[in-house]
């Protein structure tokens, strides 16, 4: 199965490429998808599919180095691994001293000479499978590059080698191992390192009613959470009795139609025909079990059951919350699952409440780097999607770090936020030392709603440099301690909706309540494809939230209570009252952009505008565009296997938000959602209307409907928000109030004059 690198994790992967120490703790998503492709494609996958950016990899300087992360699942055995390397080196390199080494997990696999006479390199390199271990493996390219036998400038520009990431490929042949699973193995069996994963079938004994829908949703979330960043497609099928009962725990289930691993979901009574009698007899409450798949020992089937629907839900919750390799048993009867009450907006690595957080709380561990071009030290954190950032709000970093002695005066730590340079910390203490609580401020507005990456990139220089300088880098040391603090100021949760981008970032506004109790999933059809679509979507939302949403309400009818709602269904089955206020009406009305990119052509801004632009630092000029509405077309155009996602204010639930996912058929809806959760689509959801076509790799989006406010904001901030948009209104209000005050005060002053100076005659000269 081919899978592209999740773009949202690209910066993360980039950090991994530059930071081998991070590999042990922070695997990258893109790495996980690559081996599957590599295995599937006869020639392997191009290396570019492992990278966040396109283009060649450049190994610069006397010691050039780049690294990849290769995930290998514990349930797979690698049979063959080959790298085809296509590279070009500088013609200025000295052949006698220059070479390119390929290392796997630190062991050199091959050395290639870098010759100016043959600057084009093409090499097929067989990677020793013995060196590949379950988990994340490191593939490194290390170049030693020189241009002279004498002393040289290690940063000379002619010292380079480029790896062609398009023509370079990686091929991995793997096979699944037979398993005898316990519940403790779930973390390995459903892991992001596997390349046979990404799909799960949930089997129910009959068409699931709301209670079972909810339990299935929780199961889907639990599976998706184990895959972390890997998209999970959940497929629902109805249980079919096996033609002939075999052995094992689920002898009565026909597994021929099941693709991959499966979950058997239902209450004990309903599952009894499919379970072995002794297994069914062991169901004495909420029941969670895992068994090898009948007829295929490489796969597993998880049984989520109970005597009642509530117990089934409890078992599903236990499945969703379980994350440690425990218990080492195949079955478990569960009395209760007591999850803590989590605050709103809670999520892994997210800071939502004002206050100071240690870097260690956000998963950062103390790290040291050495040398001139060191790896970036990365801090990942996430902000709520509806964070309203006033212009004068800053996130403050209080850095604890140590720096080496005798470094060049121009040594610095550059701080990048989401890839953009923000601040710098000069390392100008010649005698080195420990700095505590070094304060750095970054405007809150520069942070994105949702995930953010702060990269601390040390650039350490020696005091002496140049070709023949006594060059040593042992003193170029920098350590960033995890006791450093990041402080979030008082923020408000206020934004404008609809905004599918915020939905994609963190499931906003559906996941504000950490247990999902403000979310309802409304299915317009009872078919398995629609159910599959709903469960797949919920798995994705749980991944964005990094925890299961266990109190979501599911149903085939309009939610009775006041909840944000996700509506999934075939366009022809969508309830009319739910489409009131929808920006598009499939089969009746749709819109087209009147102007591409919404840009209004303007004439030459002129001297004044140009000067103003210069004075204001180019913040805003007369070149600002105004929005032009779309062209509205009424017609019977339907969705041809396309997925339409639209968000608008729920017509039936006060201030709640409704997001509709629809297509022209149930299977198209199911496939569309499966496509949607892939990063290339999911990360590009925007506006209030997004359209995904099976034959396109991009998302078409529009912002056409009315916008509405969401969230609470203080009066000051609300006024600030409005007046920032409308300074003239602010001026008018101020002038009116001042005029009113002036009138009242003038009256009071006159009154004072009469009382205090009643008989005073005044000169008539003007005041």
């Amino acid at each position: 199965m081919m899978r592209a690198l999740p773009r949202r994790l690209a910066p993360f992967l980039f950090a991994l490429l530059c930071g081998p120490l991070a590999l042990a703790t922070e695997p990258a998503a893109g790495d996980a998808s690559a081996p599957k492709a590599a295995a599937a494609a006869p020639g392997g996958l191009p290396l570019s599919s492992f990278l966040p950016t396109q283009g060649p990899l450049r190994l610069q300087g006397a010691e050039g180095r780049v690294e990849f992360s290769l995930p290998i699942s514990a349930r797979e055995s690698v049979q063959y691994a080959q790298l085809r390397l296509v590279a070009t080196n500088s013609v200025s390199l000295l052949a006698e001293r220059s070479q390119l080494a390929v290392q796997l997990n630190g062991s050199t696999v091959v050395q290639l000479p870098l010759s100016p006479r043959q600057p084009e390199i093409v090499a097929d390199i067989r990677l020793p499978v013995a060196l590949l271990k379950p988990g994340y493996n490191t593939l490194s390219f290390v170049a030693a590059q020189h241009y002279t036998m004498q002393c040289e400038d290690p940063a000379a520009p002619e010292l380079w080698t480029e790896i062609d990431t398009t023509r370079s490929t990686l091929r991995l042949d793997t096979a699944l191992k037979p398993i005898n699973p316990t519940l403790a193995d779930l973390a390995d069996l459903l892991a992001p390192t596997q390349w046979s994963g990404g799909a799960l079938t949930v089997v129910t004994p009959g068409q699931p009613q709301p209670a079972l829908l909810a339990a299935g949703g929780i199961v889907a979330q639990g599976a998706a959470l184990r895959l972390r960043y890997l998209p999970l497609t959940v497929r629902h099928t109805l249980a079919k009795p096996a033609a002939t009962r075999g052995g094992g725990a689920v002898p009565g289930l026909d597994t021929r139609g099941l693709r991959g691993d499966a979950v058997l979901l239902g209450n004990a009574t309903a599952l009894r025909p499919y379970l072995a009698p002794e297994t069914a007899a062991r169901i004495k409450g909420a029941f969670l079990a895992i068994y090898p798949m009948p007829n295929d020992a490489r796969r597993f089937v998880v049984v989520v059951s109970g005597r009642t629907d509530e117990e089934v839900a409890t078992a599903a919750s236990a499945f969703a919350w379980q994350s440690t390799p425990f218990p080492r048993q195949a079955e478990m009867n569960i009395g209760a699952v007591r999850a803590p009450e989590l605050p709103d907006y809670a999520a892994g690595g997210r800071i939502a409440r004002p206050g100071s957080y240690r870097f260690s709380d956000l998963g950062f561990t103390t790290r040291s780097v050495e040398g001139t071009r060191t790896d970036a030290l990365t801090l990942n954190m996430s902000l709520p999607a509806d964070t309203y950032a006033p212009e004068d709000a800053y996130i403050e970093l209080a850095l604890d770090f140590a720096q080496g002695a005798g470094m060049g005066g121009n040594s610095v730590v550059n701080i990048f936020l989401n890839g953009h340079f923000q601040q710098v910390v000069p390392l100008d203490e010649g005698r080195g030392g420990l700095m505590q609580r070094y304060r750095v401020r970054i405007p809150l507005r520069d942070f994105r709603p949702g995930a953010n990456t702060l990269n601390f990139v040390p650039r350490l220089t020696p005091t002496s440099a140049g070709a023949c300088a006594n060059y040593q880098t042992g003193n170029l040391q920098f350590t960033l301690f995890d006791s450093s603090l990041i402080t979030l100021p008082q923020v408000f949760h206020f934004t404008l909706l609809p905004d599918l981008q915020r939905f994609a970032l963190s499931g906003f506004p559906y996941t504000v309540r950490s247990n999902g109790e403000h979310l309802a999933v409304w299915l317009a059809g009872h078919d398995s494809d629609t159910v599959s679509a709903a469960w797949t979507l919920m798995g994705k939302l749980a991944q964005r939230k990094s925890m299961p949403l266990t109190r979501v309400r599911y149903g085939y009818e309009r939610p009775a209570d006041d909840r944000h709602t996700l509506l999934l269904g075939v366009s022809s089955q969508l309830p009319k009252d739910a489409l009131k206020g929808a920006p598009w009406l499939p089969g009746q009305r749709f819109t087209q952009l009147a102007l591409s990119n919404q840009a209004v052509p303007v004439s030459d801004p002129g001297w004044w505008s140009g000067t103003w632009s210069w004075l204001s630092g180019g913040l805003r000029t007369s070149l600002d565009t105004s929005k032009v509405g779309p062209v509205v077309i009424d017609g019977d155009a339907g969705l041809d296997s396309q997925l339409l996602a639209m968000q608008y204010r729920a017509p039936f639930a006060g201030k709640r938000t409704l997001t509709v996912f629809t297509s022209d058929s149930a299977s198209a809806l199911r496939d569309g959602i499966a496509r949607l959760i892939e990063p290339r689509y999911w990360d590009n959801l925007q506006g209030d209307v997004s359209l995904i076509s099976p034959d396109r790799t991009t998302v078409s989006w529009q912002q056409v409907g009315a916008r509405y406010e969401y969230g609470g904001i203080g009066l000051r901030e609300r006024l600030g928000f409005y007046f920032s948009q409308h300074p003239w209104l602010w001026f008018a209000v101020t002038v009116v109030l001042l005029a009113l005050l002036a009138m009242v005060v003038a009256g009071l002053v006159r009154l004072f004059r009469v009382r205090a100076h009643r008989n005073v005659a005044e000169q008539q000269e003007p005041r």
Partner: protein, 756 residues
């Protein structure tokens, strides 16, 4: 609904709107929107100013500017102070405090001047029997008898029933303590002074009073006199403050009309330039520095019943003074302190803006500084020891007014900070103001322009823009140490008498110029550092440009300051003031009266202009009679004059400089009444001088004058240096020549073998 019927509702409405506006002040707005807003506000202010209907929109105008200022203050407080290190933070906080001072003073100034009260005199009752008795006190310490005689005579000239008027000369220079001091020469001088002044007082029908010991300076002197006099009212004139004849007619009526009136203060009007006006040659062209206080602020204070006693040119009710134990002596500004004490007891004051005394200002910069440091120290003493915000008995407006009057004197701190702040960044590299260029445009510039517009509107006619800054700068280096001294020990300062009537025979550089040279050099160095920073720190270019502009402004002020520190000579002891009086001149042995016009006038002489052809070709004598209608006395005065010089003017007319001669006590009364007795003359002069030239023109004028006289100053330094070199070269050259000559002679003698 009439406001007067429901004032509490109006107050409630005002408070509600104010609270709403304060909310608007604090809302977080994008910088660009703030910029749009602030620019629109400024355009509104300019339009209102241009339309010329400001009196009607006075409050709105001030409030709009105040809104910009408060907006700036909020932003400045919440967004611009960051920690970059201890030194940076200290410098940043000092600058912030200086700005805070400026903002508080500006806002209080708006409050004080919300509605100036320009009173007309209250007429006295028709029956003079109902008029109160008045004692006129002229306290003196070391002023010359010539100076005192003018004032004494003018006091005796006051139009008031003689049986109700007694004039006292309160001499602290002839006390028993002075006469018995160990220094024999000084003791003799004190005895001679006492005899002279006693005789002079007797000659003019006044009373000489002295006391045993010189305790509590001027306040003690007056209090001692209070014990030996008994008039209902006490009029106080400094030794050099010559009253006009109508002084009591115009002021006493207030006391008759209001039994709770304890003070009627009138402006101090000066007939000579202060040293800064003199050295920058701006006297007569520009409103005098004290005009702002006496033409606007005192009227504003008067509206809130907070006009205070300024030490002279005022009338006080004896009973009120006695109630608080006389003139207060807790501070060295006894006048303001006394007014504060009586206001706190619920008494009223009035300010009559008619100039009715003519006084002298210090002639030298050091004298000026002595006077101003005393004021600063005294007002800070009041601020510390009797803080108006805490003193019982005052109304809220009175508290704010007195707070404004005393707090103002901390300007030395603010001015020094404003001078050094750009240097702290340019030279020291300290980060004292965290803002971007756009923020600076959006917040700081509108605030500064708004404050300047309001200041120009309130005071533009009587104080040109940036003149305050110049005066404050010149005083700041001396008032700041004085204030620090008070802060350390509030009771430490002592009363220093302001030197008056000094004559300067030649130009010279003030001995107080030293600190200004140092700062001037630093400011010049700041330009070099600015160029360096601009070139080497591209990211900070916006900040460098802002600081550079600030430094330029400081340089402009310092130029003017250096110009003012180059003391110009001042030969005339009694300054002449413009006059326009018809007169007749009768030359001795000629007989025919010659029609002429008195062009200027002082207590010792005048300039006469005779139309072409009137003056005889051959003048028979330098002596003459001058007959002139004396407006103060409403009769003709006949004065003997001596023609000192004669000059033919371009239009053929003749200008004669004449000196009054043979001035006997009776004639002196005529001369003093003619030269100093007419208040309408001072009024017209003051009115003619009050003109508004605008902010830009004022800046250009100040820049030009500053550059010009700073150049004179620097030329004087160069001349002095060259003179020093020349003198030394000549001296040592002569010595060398003498030495060589002697050696040569010895050599020749040795060669010739002549005996030595």
């Amino acid at each position: 609904m009439r406001l007067s019927a429901r004032p509490s509702l109006a107050v409630l409405a005002a408070l509600t709107v104010t609270a709403t506006l304060l909310l608007l002040v604090s809302i977080p707005i994008d910088t660009l929107s703030q910029l749009v807003f602030a620019c629109t506000c400024l355009v509104t202010l300019f339009v209102l100013r241009k339309l010329g209907h400001l009196p009607r929109s006075r409050l709105f105008f001030m409030m709009l500017a105040a809104f910009l200022t408060l907006r700036y203050l909020y932003w400045r407080t919440t967004s611009t102070i960051e920690y970059h290190g201890v030194a940076d933070l200290i410098a940043a906080l000092l600058l912030y405090c200086a700005e805070l001072y400026g903002i508080v003073v500006a806002l209080l100034g708006m409050f004080v001047n919300v509605r100036p009260l320009r009173r007309q005199p209250v007429p006295l009752p028709a029956d003079s029997a109902a008029w109160p008795t008045v004692d006129v006190f002229i306290p003196t310490y070391n002023e010359s008898p010539d100076l005192l005689e003018i004032t004494l005579r003018a006091a005796r000239n006051l139009r008031y029933p003689q049986d109700k008027l007694r004039v006292y000369l309160l001499d602290d220079g002839g006390t028993a303590q002075k006469r018995a001091q160990n220094d024999t020469l000084k003791a003799i001088a004190a005895n001679v002074r006492r005899m002279q002044l006693t005789e002079m007082a007797k000659r003019h029908g006044a009373h000489y009073i002295s006391r045993e010991r010189n305790e509590h300076a001027k306040a003690g002197n007056i209090n001692a006199a209070l014990k030996v006099s008994r008039g209902d009212l006490v009029a106080i004139f400094d030794a050099d403050h010559v009253p006009t004849v109508d002084f009591l007619e115009q002021t006493v009526g207030f006391f008759v009309a209001d039994p709770k009136m304890f003070l009627v203060q009138t402006p101090h009007f000066f007939i000579n330039p202060d040293p800064i006006e003199k050295n920058l040659q701006m006297f007569g062209e520009m409103p005098s520095e004290n005009e702002m206080f006496y033409s606007v602020i005192q009227h504003g204070l008067d509206f809130w019943n907070a006009a205070f006693f300024c030490g002279s040119a005022a009338v006080l009710r004896r009973s009120c003074l006695e109630e608080v134990g006389g003139i207060q002596g807790g501070s060295i500004t006894e006048d303001a302190e006394t007014a504060l004490a009586l206001h706190a007891r619920g008494y009223n004051s009035a300010y009559l803006g008619v100039p009715m005394i003519s006084g002298l200002q210090p002639e030298t910069f050091s004298g000026f500084v002595t006077q101003r440091v005393r004021w600063a120290q005294g007002m800070v003493q009041i601020f510390l020891m009797q803080n108006p915000l805490l003193l019982k008995g005052l109304t809220l407006p009175q508290r704010l007014c007195y707070f404004s009057s005393t707090f103002f004197w901390f300007f030395g701190f603010a001015r020094v900070m404003f001078l050094l702040a750009p240097l702290a960044y340019l030279i020291g590299g300290l980060h004292i103001y965290d803002a971007t260029f756009t923020e600076f445009l959006a917040y700081t510039v509108p605030h500064v322009i708004g404050v300047m517009l309001v200041s120009d509107y309130l005071f533009g006619k009587v104080r040109w823009a940036f003149v305050s800054e110049l005066y404050e700068l010149l005083q700041s280096f001396f008032s700041l140490p004085g204030i620090i001294q008070v802060l350390k020990n509030p009771r430490a300062p002592t009363f220093n008498v302001t030197p008056k009537g000094e004559q300067l025979d030649e130009d010279f550089i003030s001995r107080l110029a030293g600190p200004f040279y140092l700062v001037y050099l630093l400011v010049l160095a700041g330009f070099g550092f600015a160029a360096w920073r601009y070139a080497t720190v591209p990211l900070e270019r916006g900040v460098v440009l802002i600081t550079l502009a600030w430094n330029c402004f400081n340089l402009l002020l310092l130029n003017a300051a250096l110009g003012a520190l180059f003391e110009r000579r001042q030969r005339r002891g009694t300054p002449r003031m413009p006059a326009d009086l018809p007169a007749e001149l009768v030359l001795y042995q000629h007989g025919e009266p010659l029609h002429c016009q008195i062009d200027d006038l002082s207590g010792t002489g005048a300039r006469l202009v005779l139309t072409p052809g009137v003056m005889p070709r051959v003048r028979t004598s330098a002596k003459a009679f001058l007959a002139v209608h004396n407006p103060a006395l409403s009769r003709f005065s006949h004065l003997r004059v001596q023609i000192q010089n004669e000059r033919r003017l371009d239009d053929g007319s003749v200008a004669l400089g004449v000196a009054f001669t043979e001035v006997q006590p009776e004639l002196l009364a005529e001369v003093v009444a003619l030269a100093h007795g007419d208040s309408s003359r001072w009024q017209s002069y003051r009115r003619a001088r009050a003109r508004q030239i605008g902010i830009g023109a004022s800046l250009v004028r100040l820049g030009w004058l500053g550059a010009r006289y700073a150049f004179d100053h620097s030329r004087a330094i160069v001349d002095a240096a060259l003179g020093y070199l020349r003198d030394n070269l000549l001296h040592y050259g002569r010595l060398l020549g003498r030495h060589l000559r002697r050696q040569g002679v010895e050599l020749i003698t040795w060669i010739s073998g002549a005996p030595r």
